[in-house]
Structures are given as structure tokens and as C-alpha cells.
């Protein structure tokens, strides 16, 4: 009995240790280096295309809701987010407009100077390129993982905070680009987006940004 307890405590300890090892705070010097690495890469990004898988996690569901597709970005602010599976749905941010194509049903929303959509646009582009280290907008904390870096952003703006409690960007350490975006909602439910097959600065046809 006693041995079992020791083994249990031992395992618990390992568990704790590994959790600790998984997410370790960066030192000030490491933060500076990490930000510089990301900014250098982000500055080079004129266009970007990537596959993504989105996992919607709601605590009460037995399984995450999985959808997937492709995302395209082109400087300065063209963004196309296309769901291909299990349904076709695309949303394009372009010249102050949001263009939606829902299984062939097209619509457009003029966002003009809408502050919140401007912010969302900046947020998505920032999330994917990784360049959103804006201390005026967010309280940011930095962590090291195995082969990866992690930055956590807590919005300062009250309106934004109502929708998003925290954003977590996971970076590949070598490439200094984003591999996962996690958006946590106020109630601890979250959306996790995994980016795969990223191509930087390949030519992207303009048709991608038309509805």
C-alpha cells in the first residue's frame, strides 16, 4: 500500500515536473531575441498561403468540431479565409469590405471604418504572421516549449475582451513563424487553429480575393 502511494506521488511529481518543463517563462534576453526573430521573418512576408484545421472546443461536447481549409494573405491587408471541409464557406477581408460566400450564396458587408472589424482584421493578419507584439493593445507573456515558443496575449480593450479572453500563438522555434493560434473565449471554451504547409511569398492569384 505504502509503495503504491510512493509510486503515485512519484508519478505525480513527474507529471508536475513535465508540465513545468512544457511551459517555461522566457528571460528578458530571450524575449528580446524571440521578438526580433519573429519580426525579421514577418517583415519579409509579402504574401502567405497555408492550410488550416480548426478545432472548436466546447466543454460540454464529447468531440471538438473540426473544420478545415485554406488561408491566403497578401500585403497590405488582403485576407481570404476558405473553409473547404465539411462545407464550403469563405470570408474575404478586402478594402473595408467583408465578402462572404456561403455554399455559393454571396453577400458583402461594408465595414468601412468599423473599429472592431479593423481590429479583427489586424488581429488575424497579426496572428498568422506573428507580428502582433503591441504592448499598447495587449498584456503579453512569453514561454518556451520543446522546439516551440509561445506568446500569450490578453486584450486591454474592453470591447475586444468581451469576445476574446486570451490569444495564444505558438511559433516554430527554427522558422519563427506561427504554427498554432488559440483563441480563448471568456468561458474557457476555445478555438484552436493549426496551420500547416505554409508557403511564404509565393505568387497568389487575385481571384482568391474575389467572391
Amino acid at each position: 500500500m505504502k509503495t503504491k502511494l510512493y509510486i503515485f506521488l512519484f508519478l505525480l511529481n513527474i507529471g508536475n515536473f513535465s508540465i513545468f518543463a512544457q511551459e517555461q517563462k522566457m528571460t528578458a534576453a530571450e524575449i528580446a531575441q524571440f521578438k526580433e526573430d519573429v519580426n525579421i521573418v514577418a517583415k519579409k512576408i509579402k504574401s502567405l498561403s497555408t492550410d488550416f484545421i480548426q478545432y472548436k472546443h466546447l466543454d460540454f461536447l464529447s468531440k471538438d468540431i473540426e473544420t478545415s481549409g485554406k488561408m491566403f494573405f497578401k500585403e497590405p491587408a488582403l485576407l481570404s479565409w476558405q473553409y473547404k471541409k465539411p462545407y464550403n464557406y469563405s470570408i474575404i477581408f478586402k478594402n473595408g469590405k467583408i465578402l462572404i460566400n456561403d455554399e455559393g450564396k454571396k453577400s458583402a458587408v461594408d465595414i468601412g471604418n468599423s473599429k472592431i472589424f479593423g481590429r479583427i482584421n489586424k488581429l488575424i493578419v497579426g496572428s498568422v504572421s506573428g507580428n502582433m507584439f503591441d504592448d499598447k493593445e495587449f498584456i503579453i507573456s512569453y514561454f518556451k516549449l520543446k522546439g516551440q515558443n509561445l506568446a500569450k496575449f490578453i486584450p486591454k480593450d474592453a470591447t475586444l475582451k468581451k469576445y476574446i479572453k486570451q490569444i495564444e500563438l505558438t511559433f516554430d522555434k527554427e522558422e519563427a513563424t506561427v504554427v498554432q493560434v488559440k483563441l480563448l473565449e471568456s468561458s474557457d471554451d476555445y478555438t484552436r487553429i493549426v496551420l500547416k504547409n505554409k508557403v511564404i511569398n509565393a505568387k497568389i492569384d487575385d481571384s482568391v480575393f474575389t467572391n
Binding site: 480548426q54 472548436k56 466546447l58 460540454f60 461536447l61 464529447s62 468531440k63 471538438d64 468540431i65 473540426e66 473544420t67 478545415s68 479565409w81 473553409y83 471541409k85 465539411p86 462545407y87 464557406y89 470570408i91 462572404i100 456561403d102 450564396k105 453577400s107 468581451k162 469576445y163 483563441l183 473565449e185 471568456s186 468561458s187 471554451d189 478555438t191
Partner: protein, 211 residues
């Protein structure tokens, strides 16, 4: 004397016209002997199933889309969440026969009239047990009447395969809400349409298989 007779006749005619034009919702059905006193609807009643549907809502000519998620969380209660395709939660309710709780709702949708409408719709959609008082038939359907406070719910079973195809929530004279089901199998609806007769509101749910 003559004048009052004419008045009496006029009033009677008027009443007759009103009564005929507002005839009972069952006027075209033939009464039948009751063959059961309770009916259970299985379409949203399995506590192990995540009911996830792509949703299109048309309200007074405006369209919006998103993901409808429902899950039976205990014997009496369903959790209902509506999110955008991106995964942001727009509303989150808990609903049972007698209770209704708003866990969260974005401020843009936080309107009493909308919440009350959805409460009635979702309660009807998720209701899985009906007590039957009367029975009718028409050419295609066996129709069961279940009283529910000021309203009556009518359940339409196809004569061909004995499946529940439609639920109509009605006043004495008019349908208020109809819900039609397109079935994947005996216990699962792949498509659901909630249609309001007195306001221009249509909610269409299309099941999608998460990969």
C-alpha cells in the same frame, strides 16, 4: 323592429364570415380514434450525441449563418450554442420544459424579443415527449394534437413510413411555427427547417459530419 332584424342578420353574417375565414386549424383534417396517448421524438434526445448543424437564418430579408450546436446535458435540459463559422460564440443557452437560462449572448443579439422567440423555437425543437389528446388524419399524414398552454402542438407522421415529418405550433386558428424534418435515419434529422408564420423568420439547420 325591421331595422334591428337587419342589424341582427348583418351581425350574424359578419360573425359567420369571421368564423369561416378563421376556421380551426384542424378544419381540413378528419378526426380519428386516438391510438396513443404519448409520443416521444428521438431527433435530439441522445445524451451521447453532439448535434452540430450548419445554420442559415433569414430574418426580414437579412441573412446570417453560423453553427448550431445542441446537446442533452441531463434528463431535462439541453445546452444550445450558436457560433460563427470562425468559432466565436454568439449565444449560449440552457433550456428545458420549464426553465431557460442565458449563459452568454453577444450584446448585438441581446434583445428580449429575439431571445423569447428563440426560446420558444428551441424548446419546441428539442421537446421529446408529447401528451396526446386528439388525433386526425389527412391524405398523407396521421396528425396528433398535444395541448401546450395557450398553444397546441400538432405532430404530423407520414402514413407511408410512420415518421415524424413536421411539428406545427398553432393557436386555435393559425399555425405560428412549423418545424419540418428531413431524416437521415429513424432517430436523426439531417435537415431541419424552423419557419415562423407571423414574423418573417426562417431557421435552416443542415447537419455536417465533423471529420
Amino acid at each position: 323592429m325591421q331595422k334591428s332584424t337587419i342589424q341582427f342578420l348583418l351581425i350574424n353574417c359578419f360573425l359567420a364570415i369571421v368564423l369561416v375565414s378563421c376556421g380551426s386549424v384542424t378544419k381540413n383534417y378528419t378526426p380519428k380514434k386516438l391510438d396513443k396517448t404519448t409520443i416521444e421524438v428521438p431527433y435530439f434526445s441522445d445524451s451521447k450525441t453532439d448535434y452540430v448543424y450548419k445554420t442559415n437564418i433569414t430574418v426580414y430579408g437579412h441573412e446570417m449563418s453560423g453553427i448550431f450546436i445542441a446537446k442533452k446535458i441531463n434528463d431535462t435540459t439541453h445546452r444550445v450554442v450558436f457560433t460563427t463559422e470562425f468559432g466565436n460564440k454568439l449565444m449560449d443557452f440552457e433550456i428545458s420544459e420549464n426553465n431557460f437560462k442565458v449563459n452568454s449572448i453577444v450584446s448585438e443579439l441581446d434583445r428580449k424579443i429575439l431571445i423569447n422567440t428563440l426560446e420558444e423555437d428551441f424548446r419546441l425543437l428539442l421537446k421529446n415527449k408529447y401528451l396526446i389528446q386528439e388525433q386526425f388524419e389527412n391524405e398523407e399524414n396521421n396528425i396528433y394534437k398535444s395541448s401546450d398552454g395557450k398553444r397546441d402542438n400538432y405532430l404530423f407522421f407520414s402514413k407511408k413510413d410512420q415518421k415524424l415529418e413536421k411539428v406545427a405550433r398553432s393557436s386555435k386558428t393559425k399555425d405560428k411555427i412549423t418545424i419540418t424534418f428531413t431524416l437521415e435515419n429513424d432517430i436523426f434529422a439531417k435537415k431541419v427547417v424552423i419557419l415562423h408564420q407571423n414574423i418573417k423568420l426562417k431557421i435552416e439547420l443542415n447537419y455536417f459530419k465533423s471529420e
